[in-house]
């Protein structure tokens, strides 16, 4: 993200955004749906719980509703799961080309390691819960929803950014 200044130059963010838009357009053209990310995380979670505790999933409402929506196929046989696998490969290749591959723990200059990993895990949890409520994350709801001008998607996007701006001040120490 923007806070690490490296020797290798990043692509102009506006150009990257434009290219992402073209990708999204092609996705909609080819498959009739937009991009996503949190859906894959949901699929992985459901699959994991299903394999660890099958009795639990068949008796709990959330998993029942999930199974009903996805008509008997394995949660991993999902468009988004394959898409995210592609994202991982693509990101890895991109990192390889621009020489940005290394195991590294990144944080703001004034944040402690502890604060960073607690922040990351709580942030992750909040995204997990939030993306379920919002029926998608920045990719599935905001980006894709905006592309097809869905009221819900645009609303979610505005709420995400409103939330981020509203809370940014209180957690600024993490980043600057």
């Amino acid at each position: 993200m923007g806070n690490d200044m490296k020797e290798t130059k990043y692509m102009n963010p506006y150009l990257a955004g434009f290219l992402l838009g073209l990708l999204l357009l092609m996705t909609i053209y080819i498959s009739g749906r937009g991009l996503g990310a949190s859906g894959a995380i949901k699929s992985f979670t459901v699959a994991a719980v299903e394999s660890i505790a099958p009795a639990h999933t068949s008796s709990t409402k959330f998993y029942q509703e999930y199974a009903k929506e996805h008509q008997g196929t394995s949660p991993l046989m999902n468009w988004l799961v394959f898409e995210v696998i592609g994202v991982v490969i693509g990101a890895f290749l991109s990192g390889l080309i621009s020489d940005r591959l290394d195991l590294k723990f990144e944080k703001g200059p004034n944040a402690t390691n502890r604060a960073r990993w607690i922040g990351a895990i709580i942030g992750g949890i909040l995204w997990g819960v939030g993306s379920q409520l919002g029926r998608g994350c920045t990719s599935g709801a905001a980006l894709s929803g905006m592309a097809v001008m869905s009221t819900g998607g645009i609303l979610t996007m505005m709420a995400i950014f409103a939330g981020a701006y509203a809370f940014a001040f209180f957690f600024r120490k993490l980043w600057i």
């Binding site: 102009n12 963010p13 506006y14 150009l15 434009f18 838009g21 073209l22 357009l25 909609i28 498959s31 009739g32 749906r33 996503g36 949190s38 859906g39 949901k42 979670t45 709990t60 409402k61 990101a91 991109s94 990192g95 940005r100 290394d102 590294k104 723990f105 990993w117 922040g119 990351a120 895990i121 709580i122 942030g123 992750g124 909040l126 995204w127 997990g128 819960v129 939030g130 993306s131 379920q132 919002g134 029926r135 998608g136 994350c137 920045t138 599935g140 709801a141 894709s144 929803g145 592309a147 097809v148 869905s150 009221t151 819900g152 709420a159 409103a162 939330g163 940014a168 993490l174 980043w175």
Partner: protein, 335 residues
């Protein structure tokens, strides 16, 4: 958004088949705010965390672990979330319908606001980072992108959308009347209907549903002009090794639809000469010519008398297939 609009405008995309995220008012807002807080704390969104983890960022991996946990919390605590999750279901409205403004106005405002915001944000960034993140620089890339946008705008303004283009094309009665189309005479249709070994024939019935249900020819499908522009019904016009004949009460309706179909690139399309009105008169209500003089008239008497009975039988036994099956299934999307 603009790209999707352009694709729809030029008939490349059937928006009815595209997934539109549903709107659940409160859950969208609360979920969004939670995600906003997660943004500030975690520094990623799910998409960027996956990318960052792929190039070895450990903090991103921790973030992903957290998000699995978050989904788990939601799943296990679902009874507590459910009322909020399902409250205020507004269906799948699109923003311009909700705001009751035109699609174009909304798109224009969005692009305008975005450009202004990008400009000011880049100013702020320049100040804070003391680093050039050019948004407004006149370099090759930006000029190219701007040109692309302008081209799209000009094309959309000067070209009508695909459907109106075709509908306008067939407004001119003279053009429609004189357009060279392959015609099928009532006798040929009668022959093909009663012939077992002939090439497959598909009858595309353009009358309204009421008339169609009253009586229809075997192997016929109810079809509307709107169907021409939809994706699933179109597959039906593409079937190979079949001839298609457009039928309606009058020939003009047949001609209009057939011209549009041909212009769209469909092949093997014929029209029934004189329409079904003529077919009914000539074949179904055929009265033999008294004292046939020529051999032609004798043949005609023989053929049509036989065909009249056979086709009447076929129509009686034919169960209307109903409208062309519209599997207008939207793609399933969302997270």
């Amino acid at each position: 958004m603009v790209g999707v609009m352009a694709f729809v405008h030029f008939g490349l995309l059937d928006i009815n088949l595209v997934y539109i995220n549903p709107t659940f008012l409160w859950s969208a807002i609360v979920g969004g705010l939670i995600m906003g807080l997660g943004f500030v704390l975690g520094g990623f969104c799910p998409g960027t965390s996956v990318c960052a983890a792929a190039i070895g960022k450990i903090d991103a991996m921790i973030f992903i672990f957290g998000s699995f946990f978050g989904v788990l919390i939601f799943a296990e605590g679902y009874p507590a979330f459910e009322s909020l999750y399902k409250a205020a279901n507004l269906g799948n409205p699109r923003i311009f319908q909700t705001l009751n403004i035109s699609e174009n106005v909304f798109a224009f405002l969005t692009v305008f606001v975005a450009l202004v915001a990008f400009y000011f944000v880049s100013l702020i960034e320049k100040k804070v980072n003391k680093e050039e993140v050019s948004f407004f620089k006149l370099n090759k890339q930006n000029v190219l992108m701007a040109c692309f946008g302008c081209l799209l705008l000009i094309l959309s303004l000067t070209m009508t959308d695909r459907k109106s283009f075709f509908l306008k094309l067939v407004e001119d009665e003279n053009f429609v009347k004189n357009y060279p189309l392959e015609e099928m005479t009532p006798d040929e249709l009668a022959f093909r209907l009663t012939c077992q070994k002939c090439e497959q024939l598909r009858i595309i019935d353009l009358r309204n549903a009421e008339e169609y249900n009253k009586w229809s020819l075997p192997n016929s499908t109810l079809f509307t002009v709107d169907n021409l522009f939809e994706k699933e019904p179109n597959l039906f016009l593409k079937l190979k090794r079949t001839k298609r004949v457009f039928v309606a009460d009058d020939e003009m309706t047949e001609r209009k639809a057939a011209i549009m179909a041909l212009k769209m690139g469909y092949k093997e399309i014929k029209i029934l000469k004189g329409g079904l009105d003529n077919f009914t008169k000539e074949i179904l209500q055929f009265e033999p010519i008294k004292e046939p003089k020529t051999i032609d008239e004798q043949y005609r008497n023989r053929f049509r008398t036989k065909a009249k009975i056979e086709i009447a039988e076929l129509i009686k036994n034919n169960k209307p297939q109903g409208p062309v099956e519209k599997k207008q299934k939207r793609a399933l999307g969302g997270c």
